[in-house]
Amino acid sequence: MSVQQKDFFTAVIITITIFLIVALGFILLVIVYNHRKKRHIEEKALMQLTFDAEITKTQLEVQEQTMQTIGADLHDNIGQLLSLTSLTLNSIELDNAPKARQKIDAAIDLTVRSIKEMRLLGKLLQGDQLIVMGLSEAIGHEINWIEKSGQYKVSYTNDGEMPAVNSPDKDLILFRILQEILNNIIKHAKAKEISIKLDYEEAVLQLQVSDNGIGFDSENLPTEQCGMGLQNIQKRAGIIGGEATVLSNPDEGTTITVFIPYP
């Protein structure tokens, strides 16, 4: 082999080797990318599993809390009312007609209050069925119920078109959050007006509930006062990837806003 031939030989070998390396490199790149895709898919599936597990856990917690509320209300509230009704009815002396009339009226009043409390409890159990109609409709139903009491002026606005595909799990949790907020208002806020706003924009669903009640100092709220209610709201919002903010001042009412990625 002459020097010229050797040079040519080297040049050809180098050229073909470079082509081979480039081609192999490209194939390797595809394989590496594909492997990363596999890892990404696995991570996504794991996250989805974790998310589903969290959702289930939250739903169970919500269910457990609902049951506890029902149990406590049955025992402390309705049970007491019915015991009182029974006592009142037992103490009626038919010989004394005017007194008997008073006691019968009191028993009727206690019975009416028991029925109201029963309805309140019934409403708590309704959430799962209500949410089937859609979040907005379920909120509307809840508002109807509050308005019927005649003690609150409730305004409800629904801005932004809801996505075509909904997320029943998130809907239910958000609806439970709303119920929790409304229960807090009814029990503690002494409010006259309640404003509920549902807004959907850029894949974020926002629920805002404001009242004109007595409010509280949200900046310096002691932990024990913060109550399970507010903690639960924040915890539940966090589980579905969202967050809840509480803005309140004494005598200035309270505004709770929940943001969640949706659907």
């Binding site: 082999m1 031939q5 040519f8 030989f9 050809v12 050229t15 073909i16 082509f19 081979l20 480039v22 081609a23 192999l24 490209f26 194939i27 595809v30 394989i31 990318y33 594909n34 895709k37 596999k38 898919i41």
Partner: protein, 216 residues
């Protein structure tokens, strides 16, 4: 050491694998692959044992079969949206270059470099397009056992590296590494061994998955 005619053995192994493992495969695909591989082994065997020299005219005659099959199979596997139009366009380009080579050479005794190069480039482009479709695929496929990937990668490696062989075809035939063996034979051995290894792997994967390349 890899010395001629190992590439011929590789082709025979691939052909026999196709006969053995593509029995239950889709009829169009199975029959076409077997016919194509038969044409390859027949051509190479004739060139090796009958027309040992001045056999470029045989390779030139085989070239349309090689690239028509290549363009057809890769287009089908890549599953192009406008598969027929792109296939016709690629074939049109190749046959234009083939006719041009024929006219320019004036005879059939010299290897049609232009047609060979353009055919290789077309198949390389189709292969690269296939890889890009893989990038955009949502679902994960185990590429190391994916017949389509192995098949296309064999083609990609073969045509990318054989571009150099086509360019230097004349000089390589004259450059001897031993008294009787030109450099082109050694390089052909290496490239073909890689190429047919991929294809044999692809055929075995097809057999294991009981499917056809055209159904993937």
């Amino acid at each position: 050491m890899l010395i001629f005619p190992y590439y011929l053995y590789a082709e025979w192994v691939c052909f026999i694998s196709a006969l053995l493992y593509l029995k239950s495969s889709d009829s169009t695909f199975g029959i076409t692959v077997k016919l194509y591989l038969f044409s390859v082994v027949a051509l190479e065997s004739v060139c090796r044992y009958v027309y040992k020299s001045d056999n470029n005219w045989l390779y030139n005659l085989d070239m349309p079969i090689e690239f028509t099959f290549g363009i057809w199979i890769v287009s089908k596997v890549v599953f192009l949206k406008r598969e027929k139009i792109i296939m016709q366009l690629c074939l049109g380009l190749f046959f234009s270059a083939y006719l041009l080579s024929w006219i320019l050479k004036g005879n059939n005794s010299e290897f049609f470099k232009i047609a060979g190069l353009l055919g290789s480039v077309i198949i390389i482009c189709l292969c690269i397009y296939y890889y890009f479709t893989l990038f955009h695929k949502e679902e994960y496929v185990n590429l190391l056992t994916d017949p389509a990937f192995l098949f296309i990668s064999g083609y990609f490696l073969f045509y990318t590296t054989s571009i150099g062989l086509v360019i230097y075809a004349d000089q390589l035939d004259k450059l001897m590494i031993t008294i009787q063996v030109p450099l082109s034979y050694l390089l052909n051995d290496i490239i073909n061994l890689i190429f047919y290894s991929f294809w044999v792997a692809s055929i075995i994967c097809l057999y294991n998955k009981k499917t056809s390349l055209l159904q993937l």
